[in-house]
């Protein structure tokens, strides 16, 4: 299992990484990107099973990253973790094909549950 965490905040990336510790993802490879441009290159190169991205970042936003991946024909499970989980942003994320949108601050349980559901298909696939 490969997970890519995309957030311009190093503190938030550390927090997400720690939240997934002690779960079934202990053995997962968790990579990080501090912006959507680096994430795009990383996704093309390493094809993660799940991308956890911030919505609002300098330069390309998280939603623009997801839309760009669609344009490039890349199919990857994608979830947003954002402080701005407004109705408009959630709707736009859903339309772009995001598996989930979690608001910051999040509980440990909420993030783990969302990640479990998003990766369930991957774990069960042959």
């Amino acid at each position: 299992m490969k997970i890519l965490v995309v957030d311009d905040s190093r503190a938030m990336r550390a927090l997400i990484r720690r939240t997934l510790r002690g779960t079934r993802y202990d053995a997962a490879t968790i990579a990080e990107a501090e912006n959507a441009g680096d994430a795009l290159a990383s996704i093309h190169e390493s094809r993660p099973d799940l991308v956890l991205a911030n919505f609002n970042m300098p330069g390309m936003s998280g939603i623009e990253l997801l839309e760009r991946l669609h344009d490039d024909g890349v199919d990857v499970s994608f979830g947003f973790i954002t402080s701005d989980d407004s109705v408009a942003n959630v709707e736009r994320a859903r339309q772009a094909g995001a598996c989930f949108v979690i608001g910051k601050p999040f509980t440990r349980q909420a993030l783990r549950r969302a990640v479990n559901e998003a990766t369930e298909g991957k774990r069960n696939s042959p």
Binding site: R10, M57, S86, G103, K104, T107
Partner: protein, 151 residues
């Protein structure tokens, strides 16, 4: 403070962010110029543009900012460096500002956070009494919502 969003809501957002992210208890307090005057602050700011225009600022006394960064990075306070403290304060500001924005009506856009560190109390802008004040872990937190175009 925005006329549309009650102060109690801003208190609730701030408390939620502090408890859920850091595990710290935070309590609203009355502004105390004597206590604040001896402190330096790390100040974060996000702007909101669109049908509502303004900014949300979050300030944290330096020692508390270091402890907050340590909690977010999972290390000891003495190990948190200046970059980590700025990053942590920026993210806390982003969460308070983002949560506030979700309560606003209409189409608005949230900026990425901007952080200034070691700001003496006298240089906190706008004037400190306008902020909502909190005590946390022996340190001080100030939150403010400024309505109007960016200054």
């Amino acid at each position: 403070m925005s006329a549309e969003i009650p102060t109690a809501k801003l208190h609730e957002i701030t408390k939620n962010v502090w408890s859920m992210v850091l595990g710290f208890r935070i309590q609203p307090v009355k502004f105390d110029a004597g206590k604040a005057g001896s402190q330096e602050f790390v100040l974060g700011k996000v702007t909101i543009s669109g049908t509502w225009q303004g900014a949300v600022t979050l300030g944290c006394s330096s020692g508390l900012a270091r402890r907050a960064a340590a909690a977010m990075f999972g290390k000891l306070p003495a190990e948190a460096d200046a970059g980590e403290i700025r990053d942590a304060l920026g993210e806390l500001t982003n969460m308070v500002g983002g949560n506030y924005k979700t309560l606003l009506k209409g189409d608005c856009k949230l900026s990425v956070p901007n952080v200034m560190d070691t700001v003496p109390f006298v240089a906190v802008n706008p004037a400190p009494p306008e902020h909502q004040w909190f005590e946390c872990e022996g340190g001080m937190v100030l939150v403010n919502v400024v309505k109007g175009p960016p200054r």
